[in-house]
C-alpha cells in the first residue's frame, strides 16, 4: 500500500510531466514546429518599412500583391550602376564644416515598379554602431540628395518590374561625408 508521501510524489511527478519538456524531447526535435505560437504577422520580414501617413506619400504606387523585394533579389539599380551613383552623391554632398559627428548614416527607401522612390527612413549610428543623433542639417542634406535621385531601374521578375527596398550608407567623419557604400 502506498503511503501519503508517495501519493504526493506521484501527483507532483504527473503535474511536472504536463509542463513543456526540456532536454529529452527537444533533443529529438519533435516539438518545435507545433510549439511556437504563430501570433505574429506572418507576412512581416526583417527591415519592412510600414506606411506612415505623417511622412510617406499616400499616392506612392506599389504593386497590388504587397510584396516588396530586396534590391539584391534582382539588381534594382541606378543609371550607370552603383559606381556612378556613388560618384554622383559624393559630388552632390560637398564637404561642410560645423559638426563633430562621426559614424554611419544609412538611408533606406522603396524603389517602386515605376522607378520612383518614397518611404525614406534614416538610421544614424556612431563609430561604435550605437544610435546617435547627427547634425539635423547634415541629415537633411543627405536625405535631400537621396530623394532627388531620379530614373531608378527597378528589378524585374519574368519581364515585369517589381517594388524593392534599397539603401545607401554614408560614412561620416567629423561632420563631412568621407565615403559612401552601396
Amino acid at each position: 500500500m502506498l503511503t501519503p508521501f508517495y501519493k504526493v510524489t506521484l501527483l507532483a511527478g504527473w503535474l511536472l510531466s504536463l509542463l513543456p519538456h526540456r532536454g529529452q524531447a527537444q533533443a529529438r526535435g519533435i516539438w518545435a514546429k507545433a510549439d511556437i505560437p504563430l501570433v505574429y504577422n506572418r507576412q512581416y520580414e526583417v527591415g519592412n518599412i510600414l506606411f506612415d501617413p505623417s511622412q510617406d506619400r499616400p499616392d506612392f504606387a506599389l504593386r497590388p500583391n504587397g510584396r516588396i523585394y530586396q534590391y539584391y533579389n534582382f539588381d534594382t539599380t541606378f543609371p550607370g550602376g552603383r559606381v556612378e551613383l556613388r560618384k554622383h552623391l559624393l559630388r552632390a554632398l560637398p564637404t561642410a564644416a560645423g559638426s563633430s559627428d562621426s559614424g554611419f548614416l544609412t538611408v533606406r527607401f522603396v524603389v517602386n515598379y515605376r522607378g520612383e522612390t518614397d518611404r525614406f527612413r534614416v538610421q544614424a549610428l556612431n563609430s561604435e554602431y550605437q544610435p546617435q543623433a547627427m547634425d539635423p542639417e547634415l541629415v537633411a542634406r543627405v536625405l535631400g540628395a537621396c530623394r532627388a535621385l531620379r530614373g531608378w531601374l527597378p528589378g524585374q521578375i519574368d519581364g515585369e518590374t517589381k517594388d524593392s527596398y534599397f539603401y545607401i550608407t554614408f560614412v561620416v567623419r567629423e561632420g563631412h561625408i568621407q565615403d559612401i557604400t552601396l
Partner: protein, 272 residues
C-alpha cells in the same frame, strides 16, 4: 604520406561544410546545444529574414544562450537590409562566444558593407593571432582574409603596409598554387597609387594569367600605360569597354567591390 595529406584535406573540407550548416550530432543527446542546433536547422528552412526564421532563432537561443551560430545567422538579414545596429549587436554576441569562428565574418562585413576599414583590420588582425596567421576566407569565399587586411591598409592610406601584407599572402599562396581571383589586380592598384607603373603593369600581367577576361585589368593597365606615355593604352581601354559590356567585370549583388569600375569611367577616358 600522400594518404595522410588526402585525409587531412578531407577533414578540412568536412570542417568547412560543418561550419556552413552545423552537424547537430556532435552535441551530446539531450544537451541544450543539441536542442538549439535542431531548432536552428528548422529556422534556416524558412526564407532568410522571415519572421518565422527569426522566431526560431530566438527559440534556439532560449534553449541554449551560448549557441553562437544562431546569433550569427539571425544577424544576416539585418546586415543585408541596412540595420547595422542590430546586425552588430547580434554579431558581437557570436564573436564573443566563438571568436575564432566569427571574427572573420564580422571583419569581412565591416569591410564590405560599411567601409569600416579600421574596425575590419582590427578583427582580422585578432583572428590572425588566434589562427597562427591562417585566418581563412572571406564570407563569400572571394578573398583570403589577409588580402582583405591588405585592402583595409590600402584604404587607410598605409600603402607600404598594404603592399607588405599582399606580398606575404601571395607568396604563401604561390607555394600552394592558390592565388585569389583578383589578388594581383588589387596589388597592382596599390603600386599604381605609389606611381610604380612598371610594378603595376607586371601585376596586371600576372592577373591575366589567373583570370584573362576582366574589364578592370584592362582599365588599370590603360591607366598605367597612359602615365608612361604609351599610346597603346587606348587599345586597353577599348578592350575594357568590350569586356565590361559582355559582363566580364567585378560585380557583387550587394555592394560595389574594391576597384570596380563603371562603363562611363571607361568612356570618359576614351574621349580624353
Amino acid at each position: 604520406m600522400r594518404r595522410t595529406l588526402l585525409l587531412g584535406l578531407l577533414a578540412l573540407l568536412l570542417g568547412r561544410m560543418a561550419a556552413a550548416q552545423p552537424n547537430c550530432l556532435i552535441y551530446a543527446a539531450g544537451s541544450p546545444e543539441r536542442a538549439a542546433c535542431e531548432v536552428y536547422l528548422q529556422a534556416i528552412e524558412f526564407p532568410q529574414g522571415s519572421i518565422q526564421s527569426q522566431v526560431y532563432f530566438d527559440r534556439a537561443l532560449a534553449l541554449c544562450p551560448t549557441f553562437a551560430d544562431a546569433y550569427h545567422e539571425k544577424s544576416v538579414p539585418f546586415l543585408k537590409r541596412g540595420d547595422f545596429q542590430t546586425w552588430k549587436k547580434l554579431m558581437d554576441e557570436a564573436v564573443r562566444l566563438r571568436p575564432e569562428r566569427f571574427l572573420g565574418d564580422r571583419g569581412w562585413c565591416r569591410f564590405k558593407f560599411l567601409h569600416d576599414y579600421a574596425g575590419a583590420l582590427a578583427d582580422i588582425t585578432r583572428l590572425r593571432q588566434l589562427t597562427r596567421n591562417q585566418p581563412g576566407q572571406s564570407g563569400d569565399g572571394s578573398y583570403d582574409l589577409r588580402i582583405v587586411a591588405a585592402l583595409c591598409q590600402r584604404e587607410l592610406g598605409d600603402l607600404r603596409g598594404a603592399l607588405s601584407t599582399f606580398d606575404e599572402c601571395i607568396a604563401d599562396y604561390k607555394i600552394k598554387d592558390r592565388v585569389g581571383l583578383s589578388d594581383y589586380l588589387h596589388r597592382g592598384v596599390v603600386k599604381l597609387r605609389q606611381r610604380d607603373y612598371a610594378g603595376a603593369l607586371a601585376d596586371f600581367e600576372l592577373q591575366r594569367s589567373i583570370n584573362g577576361k576582366l574589364a578592370e585589368t584592362c582599365y588599370y593597365t590603360a591607366l598605367a600605360m597612359r602615365q608612361q606615355g604609351n599610346p597603346a593604352y587606348l587599345g586597353q581601354l577599348q578592350a575594357a569597354r568590350e569586356l565590361w559590356q559582355q559582363g566580364y567585370r567585378l560585380n557583387d549583388p550587394y555592394v560595389s567591390m574594391p576597384d570596380e569600375i563603371s562603363l562611363p569611367e571607361i568612356e570618359a577616358l576614351l574621349q580624353q
